[in-house]
């Protein structure tokens, strides 16, 4: 049987084709939503990818409603606070998991994995009851707490992988150079773990930002409703009005912070920051 050896040119063509297919597949829905958000109410169902009548009225509408602006503030606040706390806790936990030997280490890692695997839907009802009893229902902490809980395992796993990459000897060297354990962590280990911290911050932020299940179940008013939940409450000004345009505009608006967040932190994720520490 003759073995066909593709020429480099043909192989490159093939890969370009595959990449284009993947990108189109992933971005087409995004483009479609963006296109819908720019269409007027009359042309929203015309099926054209490029709007015939461009309008910004959908965007104007959502920002004019208090409902959306309020939800946006909730989303940003809750996601940022949850991310900050989760990453701070995970950094310390991951350091311990990666570097220290302590009783119950395996149990801790096991339990955190268990939490990550637990189906969240099964916890919604108990959480709903608990939060109502404790007065956390429909408050920021009511969402921040479960977000931290469910994003910690992911953050711990990501970060401990980064900590393991940092040569042990750097810390010993810092100690020999006269650093206290806290100084060694702050001036040597933490700067080197920064790419890991930013990576897990992005992951946690996206998780909190995109969550719909907890947001819809544990909130009941504008006091804490986040954008994904608020979107589902969008209606037209009358029951005969179709809110497709405004929902699309809102969807585009909430995608922007994620893109910005990733772009902003990606520059800090400098690959190979630790190279040159040891012989290499």
């Amino acid at each position: 049987m003759p073995v066909e050896t593709a020429s480099p040119g043909r192989r490159r063509t093939w890969w370009t084709f595959v990449n284009v297919v993947v990108i189109v597949y992933a971005l087409l829905p995004v483009l479609w939503i963006a296109s819908l958000s720019f269409k007027t109410k009359e042309t929203v169902t015309d099926g054209n990818l490029v709007p015939r009548d461009w309008t910004l009225s959908n965007y104007g509408d959502i920002f004019r409603t208090d409902e959306f602006v309020r939800a946006l503030i909730n989303s940003i606040g809750i996601a940022l606070i949850a991310t900050f706390i989760a990453v701070a806790l995970a950094t310390m936990a991951a350091y311990a998991v990666a570097r220290l030997e302590f009783p119950g280490k395996r149990a801790l890692v096991g339990v955190s994995l268990l939490i990550a695997m637990f189906p969240q839907i099964s916890l919604v009802t108990p959480l709903f009851n608990i939060e109502r009893e404790l007065g956390l229902f429909d408050t920021w902490p009511g969402l921040i707490l479960p977000y931290i809980t469910f994003s910690l395992p992911l953050a711990i796993y990501t970060l401990s992988a980064f900590f393991r990459e940092i040569p042990w000897e750097l810390e010993k060297a810092a100690k020999m150079d006269g650093a206290t354990p806290a100084q060694a962590f702050r001036r040597v280990i933490a700067p080197l773990a920064a790419p890991g911290v930013f990576t897990s911050a992005i992951l946690v932020f996206i998780f909190c930002w995109n969550d719909f299940l907890f947001a819809i179940s544990l909130t009941s008013s504008e006091a804490s409703r986040t954008v994904p939940a608020a979107l589902s409450f969008f209606t037209g000004s009358s029951q005969f009005e179709d809110p497709t345009g405004t929902i699309s505009a809102a969807a585009v608006v909430i995608t922007v912070p994620i893109v910005l967040f990733v772009l902003f932190f990606q520059r800090r994720i400098v690959a190979g920051l630790t190279s040159g520490a040891v012989k290499g």
Binding site: L170, K172, A173, K175, G272, G276, A277, K279
Partner: protein
């Protein structure tokens, strides 16, 4: 400047493994002491205990007379150079070297002055603003040295600092390291597994094996009077030849012929209540091509004739290997040595091997007979069971 005293220091890990057992060692002020031994012998553990990176299980560590066991590494005023150099990758060379001074809250002007002084000594001035990732291995090694010397600490600890360099650079760095240490006069404890490094650098050498000190002494002392088979086999390159020998009627019967026992050796053997079967050790450099030995000198020594198995010519000298038609030696210590150095030929129990160093002018040829001369006074006798040297005391 400091005197470091290890007083019956032991290290036992929580799993019960004994890494270091009862080390007694006094490193004098300004002295350069080498801890040498095969990997896993406890030398790095010992160094880490002095540094404070590992706890001391029992015994006491004193620096300048003060007990150090419970002090944190940062309070011991010791600098350490790591095998991997452990440079901080996110800092420039200047920041790396300044780090210990910054932690000690030295004034800015002094930090700058001392870093630049160290950089000048180590020839790093033009690299001060580069990152470690952009330096060569030798430069990184020097930065690691620089970080240690800027602080002017009481002592340097070095954990195989040259083992990541290539052979040529290692030789150069060895010389400059030795010069630097003499210049600074700082007490230094240096760990290596390389006996050449140990011999060339140290004022004194501590040979360790399986957590036990085998012998402490100057390089020449260890070479001339190894206290046991392990030290004898470990120090010197190529290593000492070991052959079985039997004492009979005041003579020593060896595979190289009969050798009379001198009175001194006989007294030692009697005092030690030595067994009749012994191990005899002879360094390769104590042989010579009989044809090149002057008549009257030849009379004083012994000769033997055998077929050269392999001949290695190094230009300045020749190594003739012989496969003797006798059994090789079996001794526990030699087995240990063979295990750790991976040189199975030391104690295979097969036929005995003999390496001899001859002058470059020797006419020896492979697979031809050669008569080799040796001085029986240079023979060293060992107890096969305990491995103790029976020829010298201490």
């Amino acid at each position: 400047m400091a005197e470091i005293v290890l007083d019956k220091v032991s290290k036992r890990y929580p799993d019960g493994a004994l890494a270091v057992s009862d080390i007694d060692l006094t490193v004098g002020d300004g002295e350069f002491v080498i801890l040498v031994g095969p990997s896993g012998c406890g030398k790095s553990t010992t160094l880490n205990m002095v540094a404070g990176l590992e706890d001391i299980t029992t015994g006491e560590l004193r620096i300048d007379g003060e007990r150090m066991n419970e002090r944190a590494p940062k309070d011991r005023d010791i600098a350490m150079v790591f095998q991997s150099y452990a440079l901080y990758p996110h800092m420039s060379v200047r920041e790396n070297m300044a780090f210990p001074l910054r932690l000690a809250k030295a004034p800015h002007e002094e930090v700058r002055r001392r870093v630049e002084e160290a950089a000048r000594v180590l020839d790093l001035t033009e690299h001060l603003d580069r990152r470690p990732a952009n330096l060569s291995g030798g430069q990184r090694q020097r930065v690691a040295m620089g970080r240690a010397i800027v602080r002017e600490p009481k002592a340097f600890l070095m954990d195989e600092p040259l083992s990541n360099l290539d052979a040529k650079l290692r030789g150069q760095m060895r010389t400059s390291l030795s010069r630097l240490q003499k210049q600074l006069g700082t007490t230094t404890v240096y760990v290596t597994h390389d006996q050449t490094e140990a011999m060339t650098l140290g004022d004194r050498i501590v040979v360790l094996q399986a957590g036990h000190v085998q012998q402490i002494g100057s390089p020449q002392h260890l070479y001339d009077r190894p206290s046991n088979l392990f030290v004898a086999g470990f120090i010197g390159s190529p290593s000492m030849n070991f052959l079985t020998a039997v004492v009979e009627d005041g003579h020593l019967r060896t595979p190289l012929g009969e050798v009379p026992l001198t009175d001194r050796v006989r007294r030692h053997l009697e005092a030690a209540d030595a067994p009749r079967e012994l191990i005899v050790g002879l360094r390769p450099e104590h042989f010579e091509d009989a044809a090149l030995v002057e008549e009257h000198v030849r009379e004083e020594g012994r000769t033997f004739t055998a077929t050269v198995d392999v001949l290695e010519s190094l230009g300045s000298e020749k190594y003739a290997h012989f496969a003797l038609e006798t059994e090789g030696v079996r001794a526990r210590q030699l087995q240990d040595l063979a295990d750790v150095t991976g040189s199975a030929d030391l104690a295979t129990g097969g036929t005995a091997q003999l390496v001899t160093r001859l002058s470059a002018t020797s006419g020896a040829r492979e697979n031809a007979e050669l008569t080799v001369w040796f001085d029986p006074d240079r023979l060293v006798l060992f107890d096969p069971d305990s491995g103790t040297n029976l020829t010298y005391e201490g």
